[in-house]
């Protein structure tokens, strides 16, 4: 147990804290290196809207905004103040929905993003690994080869374009799926069976985008991992012993190759999350992605800052949690 804590747990915790430290520092540094002053930019957008403000109130607004952006004091003071506000969970009010706090708006959008991302991620990972292993165990199976080609063709295409193609084909030319949103306009989210069904119906195309782009990578990865395993002695012994094919596939081949794929899943979370954001923009799905594009259009700087920081902490935490669960799957770590 002591060895487990020293060798496994402490390095993971250090890595977790490093990621958050690097991420937060990057988000702190970027606005300060940028040639545009966010305070002046904000003031000029407000005055450009035509509201006549006397110099006195512009000045007081400048002070308030400087305070809000954490730009008062020396850079070192600013940096500590930045961390202080973060640790209190205070990211300031949204500028376009003043004075609703940024955290509250993100909190409302987050369930939609996660509700789509997590199932889609599980489906694409399971499907890719299962089919990939099957395709190297049964190399002459035609449907599997066709699926491999599909996965390889979609894999390099950006999420936005895949989402767009799916939307145009299945929402426009063959309108069998809804065009946008997470539920029909006019209904309110509730826990009735009816609502859950429409929710799933609306989630099909967005989830399909994530699955289609994602599963090809797992498929190839698993195929190359298992291609060495199927010629191992223990697999041949199992075959000679007359074990069932399925038993060999699941307990002897897939299980051995699953661990690197699990590590790979943690490494790609950030990319998939980014893909989910842009996919939501295409489908008008009311999650973080749509919140982001609204913030961009309404020049809501504090909102974009908030989304960036929440994403960094969220992805880092997800990776950390996966690291904590990893010993459950890998006996070598468990019995150290």
């Amino acid at each position: 147990m002591r060895r487990f804590v020293l060798r496994y747990l402490i390095p993971r915790i250090t890595q977790y804290l490093t990621i958050i430290f690097v991420g937060v520092t990057v988000t702190f540094v970027i606005p300060r290196l940028s040639p545009t002053d966010p305070v002046e930019a904000q003031i000029s957008t407000i005055t450009a809207r035509g509201s006549t403000l006397d110099p006195q109130s512009i000045e007081s607004m400048r002070v308030a905004l400087t305070e809000l952006y954490g730009l008062s004091g020396s850079p070192v003071e600013q940096y500590f103040a930045f961390w202080g506000r973060l640790l209190r969970g205070d990211l300031g009010p949204s500028l376009s929905n003043f004075p609703t706090p940024v955290s509250e708006l993100i909190g409302q959008a987050l369930p939609y993003t996660l509700g789509l991302l997590v199932p889609a991620l599980i489906i694409s990972w399971t499907m890719g690994n299962l089919l990939g292993a099957m395709s190297s165990y049964y190399p002459k199976n035609r449907p599997l080869n066709a699926i491999e080609v599909l996965g390889q063709v979609v894999r390099p295409i950006p999420y936005y374009i895949v989402a767009l193609v799916l939307l145009v084909v299945f929402g426009y030319f063959v309108p069998i799926f809804p065009f946008s949103g997470a539920y029909p306009i006019g209904t309110h989210p509730n826990w009735s069976i009816e609502f859950i069904l429409t929710y799933i119906y609306h989630a099909v195309l967005p989830a399909a985008t994530l699955v289609l782009v994602g599963f090809g990578g797992w498929f190839v990865g698993m195929k190359s991992l298992t291609s060495n395993i199927i010629s191992e002695d223990y697999v041949e012994f199992a075959e000679t012993a007359g074990l069932k094919k399925n038993k060999i596939l699941f307990s002897y081949i897939i299980r051995t190759a699953l661990l690197p794929q699990l590590t790979g899943l943690a490494m790609t979370l950030g990319t998939v999350f980014s893909g989910a954001l842009i996919m939501e923009v295409v489908f008008g799905y009311p999650g973080l992605g749509s919140l982001t594009i609204r913030a961009i259009y309404s020049n809501d700087y504090s909102m974009i800052m908030g989304i960036t920081i929440y994403s960094i902490i969220g992805v880092a935490t997800a990776v950390f949690l996966m690291d904590l669960l990893y010993p459950l799957f890998d006996p070598r770590v468990r019995y150290q």
Binding site: T18, I19, V26, I30, P38, I157, L164, A266, I296
Partner: protein, 286 residues
């Protein structure tokens, strides 16, 4: 070089498809130099015309010939990708070689920064950057920014190569004959690493062009420069799909798919060719 090309064309289906697609891309890029229209000008041709013999991909609601406009878009997108790849390759090679050869605390510090960048969700960070630089963004800045964020994955790959090269006897011979660490890295290790650097370059170009599409859709790149991303941005701004101008969406999508698939298949094919074990399987033990 020609022999390699011939081998790949002969034995690898993927390379053949990549070759056809990328030839189409190169032809488009070359055509951009003889384009009859200036891509920055609008309303030079009648607007909203569907594809025809005169206007191969139709015309946009801004009165531009879509085919000729896209020749510039492909050129700019690919230019961005190559620029990004060059910048991020330099960083990846430097970090990878240093971390791998020096080892110790330097390796640990570099790799934990490296891993942080691998795990961090890049899009939100790039959105923040794009948002702040919006009014000043141009293709060159975007390439620099993407270059600064595009190296971590490949740096780790290069480092792992160097770690194994370090244990080979020729490194030890060089060390004992008094060669400095710097020269060992440059003269002895770099040549071994270059094939991987080349393969990852293609992958990095892909990533960079994809990021540009994403940022442009959000309106965060230089929207006056024709790229694949800005083509889609303007089509969305004019509600092309709702107005029935479907070719404005379809043409850039098609060009993008050809470009992305071409590069990806080239990457996969070269990746297998570089590795002698998979190369033998590919061309059957020559």
């Amino acid at each position: 070089m020609l022999k390699v090309l011939r081998d790949l064309l002969k034995y690898d289906d993927r390379f053949r498809i990549a070759f056809v697609f990328l030839t189409a891309v190169v032809v488009m890029i070359l055509l951009s130099f003889v384009s009859p229209y200036d891509p920055c000008k609008s309303f030079v041709v009648p607007w909203d015309l569907p594809p025809s013999r005169e206007h191969l991909f139709g015309t946009t609601s801004r009165g531009q010939d879509l085919f000729w406009w896209l020749t510039y878009a492909v050129r700019n997108s690919l230019f961005l990708g190559v620029m990004t790849a060059i910048i991020s390759r330099v960083i990846a090679v430097l970090v990878g070689l240093t971390a791998g050869y020096r080892g110790g605390w330097l390796d640990r510090v570099l790799m934990s920064i490296n891993d942080s960048f691998v795990i961090l969700p890049l899009l939100p960070i790039l959105i923040l950057l794009g948002f702040l630089l919006r009014s000043r963004m141009n293709l060159f800045y975007l390439a620099v920014i993407l270059g600064l964020f595009g190296w971590p994955f490949d740096a780790r790959l290069i480092r792992s190569q160097v770690l194994s090269l370090k244990e080979r006897s020729f490194t030890r011979t060089a060390v004992y004959s008094g060669t400095s660490g710097f020269w060992i890295t440059i003269n002895e290790h770099l040549p071994f690493v270059l094939p991987i650097v080349f393969a990852t370059t293609i992958n990095n170009i892909l990533w960079s062009i994809g990021m540009e599409v994403t940022l442009s859709i959000l309106g965060l790149s230089d929207l006056t420069t024709p790229t694949i991303g800005t083509a889609l941005f303007w089509a969305n701004q004019h509600g092309a799909l709702v107005a029935g101008v479907w070719w404005w969406i379809a043409a850039p999508t098609l060009v993008a798919i050809i470009l992305f698939l071409g590069l990806y298949l080239l990457f996969m094919s070269i990746n297998e060719y570089i590795d002698p074990r998979t190369r033998l399987r590919l061309i059957g033990g020559e």
